[in-house]
Each structure stands twice: as C-alpha cells, then as structure tokens.
C-alpha cells in the first residue's frame, strides 16, 4: 500500500465578495432613452452603430445616444456614468471581452 502524504495547498486567499443589486428594470422601452456605450475596444463602436440602426428600424420610439468611454475600458468613467444616469433610462455596453 503506497504511503499517504500530507502536502500544503498552494492557493492564495480569496477576496471577500460584497453582493450587489440590479437596478430596477423598465416596464417598457417605449419613449425611453438608451445610451449605447462604446468601450473603445476592437471596433466596438461599429457594432453599436448597427444596434443603433436596429432600434431605428424596429423600435423607433426608442431614442438612442451613442457615446464612447472617455478612456480605456479598464478605467472607471464617472463622467460618462453620471451623464447616462442624468439623461438616460438604460444602457447597452459593448463590446466587452
């Protein structure tokens, strides 16, 4: 019978996770303003232009605003988030990876 060994676990200690809540969802998108947020990664704005066109063709009552992040996707952008909070009802972010 091979000997049993005791060894140490090599993994670090995980962070404490704070659970967050979703924002309340909208009853409907009719008449609402949706911000399309370009994350400035790998031509994401080009995809969002097509999302914008889709809303124009299929849900014309929805107003879309296409904006680009002020900096790289990895950096927080409170200016853009505040703009959306003040003037928009919802947001679509793209393209994440």
């Amino acid at each position: 019978m091979p000997e049993k060994l005791t060894v140490l676990n090599p993994t670090g200690y995980p962070p404490k996770i704070t659970q967050k809540q979703l924002a309340p969802r909208l009853e409907s998108l009719d008449g609402r303003t949706i911000y399309l947020v370009d994350c400035r990664f790998d031509d994401s704005i080009e995809l969002l232009r097509q999302v914008e066109a889709w809303f124009a063709d299929n849900m014309p009552s929805v107003k879309t605003e296409l904006v680009s992040l002020n900096n790289m996707y990895s950096r927080d952008d409170p200016e853009t988030w505040t703009l959306i909070k003040e003037r928009g009802d919802a947001a679509i972010l793209g393209v994440g990876h």
Binding site: P2, E3, K4, L5, T6, V7, L8, N9, P10, T11, G12, Y13, P14, P15, I17, T18, Q19, K20, Q21, L22, A23, P24, R25, L26, E27, S28, L29, I34, V37, R40, F41, D42, D43, S44, E46, L47, R49, Q50, V51, A53, W54, N58, M59, N70, N71, M72, S74, W81, I84, K85, G88, D89, A90, A91, I92, L93, G94, V95, G96, H97
Partner: protein, 442 residues
C-alpha cells in the same frame, strides 16, 4: 457592473462569445452574478457594417435566442436572471482556502494538483510540510505574514498570499531554500506573471547585485535558457505563485491569452552580466546601489526581434527596422550580449545609457497616420490621447505623414546578458514595472 449597481441604471453588456465563462466568473466575483449580458460572434474587429448588422439581427451564439430580444428583455421587467448555478468551475465562488490538502498517495496528489490546475503541467515537487519548512527557514519573515496580492486582470478581485503560500509554490517549482528571498521579492512586487490579457504577455525578470553569485545564477552563456537551476526555478516559482496566489490561471476562466506565451514557463529569469557590461547595471539605473541585491520585473514579451552585431555602413537603418518590429504598446528593452553592448559604444559613441536611449528614441519614428491606425494603438493608446493624456494627446495633433516618436524616451531600457560566444542581441517589447530589494526578504 458599476453603472448597474452604483448608478442604478439598467444595463445590458454585449460580449463576444469566447468570453462566456470569463464574463460569468467576473460578475460572480464582482458580486453581481445576476447581471444581464449577451453574446455576439467573435470577432467584431475588422468586420464590415453588413456583417455586424447580421450579428445584431442574428442569434446569441450561446443561447440561440435572437440577440436583440435578449437585449430588450435584459433592460425590462421581462428580464429573468439565469439561476446562479452555471456549469463551470466552482472555484469562482471563492471558499476559504484550507492549509492542507487531504492526505493521499503521491500519484493521487500529482493527479489532484493537475486536476485543480495548480501546476504548469511540468512535474512538480510535492510541497510536504518538511520541504515547506525547509524553505521557510531561509527567511526571517513569519509564515503567516501577508506578502502581497494579485489578480489575473482588472475587476477579478485581489487574492492574498502569505510567506507560507510563496514557500509552497517555491517547493513545487524545485527551488532551493537559498533562492527563497529572491522569490519572496518577486511575490512582493504584486505583479502577476499570469496576466489574463488576450495578448498573452510574459514577464522578464532581471536579477542584479551580489545575490547572483551567492545562489549561483547564470548571467553568461545560455543565461536565458534552461541551463541553471536558480534561473529556471526562481522564474518557475514566480509563475506558480502568480497563478495559485491570484486564485487561478485557467484558459477560458481566468486566462484569455489567445496564443499563450512560452516565455511564461521561466518568465525569462536571468542575472545581468554586470561584470562584462560597459554600463552601470540595471538596478543602479533604477536608483539602487551596486551592492544591493534586487529583482527587476518587466512586462510584455510579445514581440522579439534579433540581430547579429552592428554593421558599419547601415547599422542605424538595421536598428530602426528592428524598432519598427517592436510592438508599440510596450517599449523596447535592448537585451545585449556584451560584445554588442560594446559595439553600440564603438559605432554610436553611446558611452552612457542616456546617450543610447536618446538615440533609440529619436530613431524609432513612424508616420502618425500609420501609428494611430494600429489596432493596438486604437485599443489602448488612442483612448488615452483623446482623454488628454500626454504625450499621446500631442501626438494625435500630428499630420498623417508627420513622423512621430513610437515610444516614450523614459520607457526605453537596456540589459546586458550572455557569454560572448557571439554578438547576438534582441529587442524585447517589454515595459519596466518595478525593482524590489531582495535584502528586505532575507
């Protein structure tokens, strides 16, 4: 997640399909596993308007449902988050880490370490209590002391590791106890050697000072290859510590490097050949004393150009061409055999590093239009330019045909290594990050 939870704005995130598991594990770690997201095919980059319209009008490739239906539902009360039980690795619901692994036979433990992705899939030394204790005896620091924290990329959550955790990984790598202060110094840098970047980056570790000789590191012939236990196992320990200390480096979950990078087996760990260099050692350039023992960490390692010597007639043009082959996202670090280091002085009169760096900076230029059209520059530097960050903002004002500096002067580096079997040399695209004093970890 910030827009959703901090600003209270209903949000749907569009991702490319390859990042399914990464998105799910990131939202869990971020405390918002119920976040609304959907997927489009990969890639988006370079696709025509018609192709992207087809993405939008088509189905989410993972769920099979119409993409825009998912988007609209995700923003409205029709949204029903997926049950919080994905079919992926439960390690991303972080649990307290036990100190010991359940006792088992050697074969069973080897299998367990592989199954848990705790290795680099080369054989390891099992970290028994006796071996770890021997490693710990090589430092004055207590086993429970926190050395640092790492994460694979932004927003993944920092994991902490102690002196004992570093020792466990050092044993696994096959390191001798006398190498341990160097490994602890690397751990203290808090720079992960297992970044999740899709670009597959690798560190480069340069050891300077008396410690090189104390532990028998190689700075001469074959220094960057697998010919010396200290060079090999210090770099490997750094990699294992990074992947395990940060809570994983698993393709598709905590690692997204498309190609991967073989440099990460050793993390390009070597000692500088200070004795044969015509210039001051790297650590002195970075503000340390010659008698200090240090580790310096670079980060990049995706582009490497190489050459032999410097020819009298066209050496300037040849170096220019190499610099144009260096990725613009990082910066050139010249890795020179001592023969070539002296040739740079003979050909260009660069008897100080400053003179060399000035010349490299002025030589590495390209038309602004060409520079800004690079996808790397578009992704990572153009946004910073439009935000007003210098020197990128000024570069952005240049006419398309105006030659602009490709790299920042202060980011250019040089390291001398090798055994003078010939004047071969490389330009590594890699950014200097940090130098840590080994003395602090003895």
């Amino acid at each position: 997640m910030t827009l959703e939870s901090k600003y209270n704005v209903p949000t749907v995130a569009l991702h490319t399909e390859k990042f399914d598991r990464i998105v799910r594990s990131t939202t869990r770690v971020g405390g918002l596993p119920q976040a609304a997201f959907c997927f489009v095919p990969m890639p988006v980059m370079g696709k025509s308007a018609a192709e992207l319209r087809a993405y939008v009008e088509g189905a989410d490739p993972l769920s099979g449902r119409p993409l825009m239906q998912e988007v609209v539902e995700g923003l409205t009360t029709a949204y029903s988050p997926e049950p919080d039980a994905g079919g992926f690795n439960p390690r991303f619901v972080p649990a307290p880490t036990p100190r010991l692994v359940e006792p088992a036979t050697e074969d069973e433990l080897r299998q367990l370490f592989e199954d848990n992705n705790w290795t680099d899939f080369l054989p390891i030394v099992l970290p028994t209590e006796e071996r770890v204790a021997a490693m710990l005896a090589a430092t004055s620091h207590k086993p429970e002391e926190v050395v640092g924290r790492m994460q694979p990329t932004h927003n993944r959550g920092y994991w902490e590791y102690t002196v004992e955790k570093v020792a466990v990984n050092a044993v696994m790598a096959g390191a001798r106890p006398e190498y341990f202060p160097v490994i602890l110094a690397l751990a203290a840098s808090e720079i992960t050697a297992r970044s999740s970047t899709s670009s597959s980056a690798a560190p480069m570790v340069v050891v300077n000072g008396p410690i090189r000789h104390e532990i028998g590191m190689n700075s001469g012939t074959g220094a960057m290859g697998p010919f010396n236990r200290a060079n090999a196992t210090i770099g490997r320990a750094y990699g294992l510590l990074s992947m395990n200390g940060q809570g994983g480096s698993v393709p598709g979950e905590t690692f997204a490097g498309s190609l991967g990078n073989a440099y990460t087996y050793s993390n390009l760990t070597f000692a500088e050949n200070e004795e044969r260099s015509p210039w001051e050692p790297l650590h002195v350039t970075k503000g340390f004393k010659p008698e200090d023992s240090t580790v310096s960490i670079f980060w990049g390692g995706r582009s490497t150009t190489f050459n032999l010597g410097l020819r009298e007639q066209h050496w300037r043009e040849h170096v220019h061409d190499m610099l144009m082959g260096t990725d613009q996202l990082t910066a050139p670090c010249l890795v020179l055999d001592p023969i070539t280091a002296r040739q740079f002085i003979d050909r260009g009169g660069f008897d100080t590093k400053d003179k060399l760096f000035d010349w490299i900076h002025e030589t590495a230029k390209m038309p602004a239009g060409e520079y800004w059209d690079l996808q790397l520059v578009q992704n990572y530097l153009y946004p910073r330019a439009t935000f007003g960050e210098e020197p990128f903002a000024t570069k952005l004002k240049a006419a398309a045909d105006e030659l602009i500096h490709t790299f920042r002067r202060e980011e250019i580096n040089v390291v001398v290594v090798g055994g003078e079997t010939n004047g071969y040399w490389q330009i590594m695209g890699t950014n200097y990050r940090k130098t840590v004093c080994v003395e602090d970890w003895r």
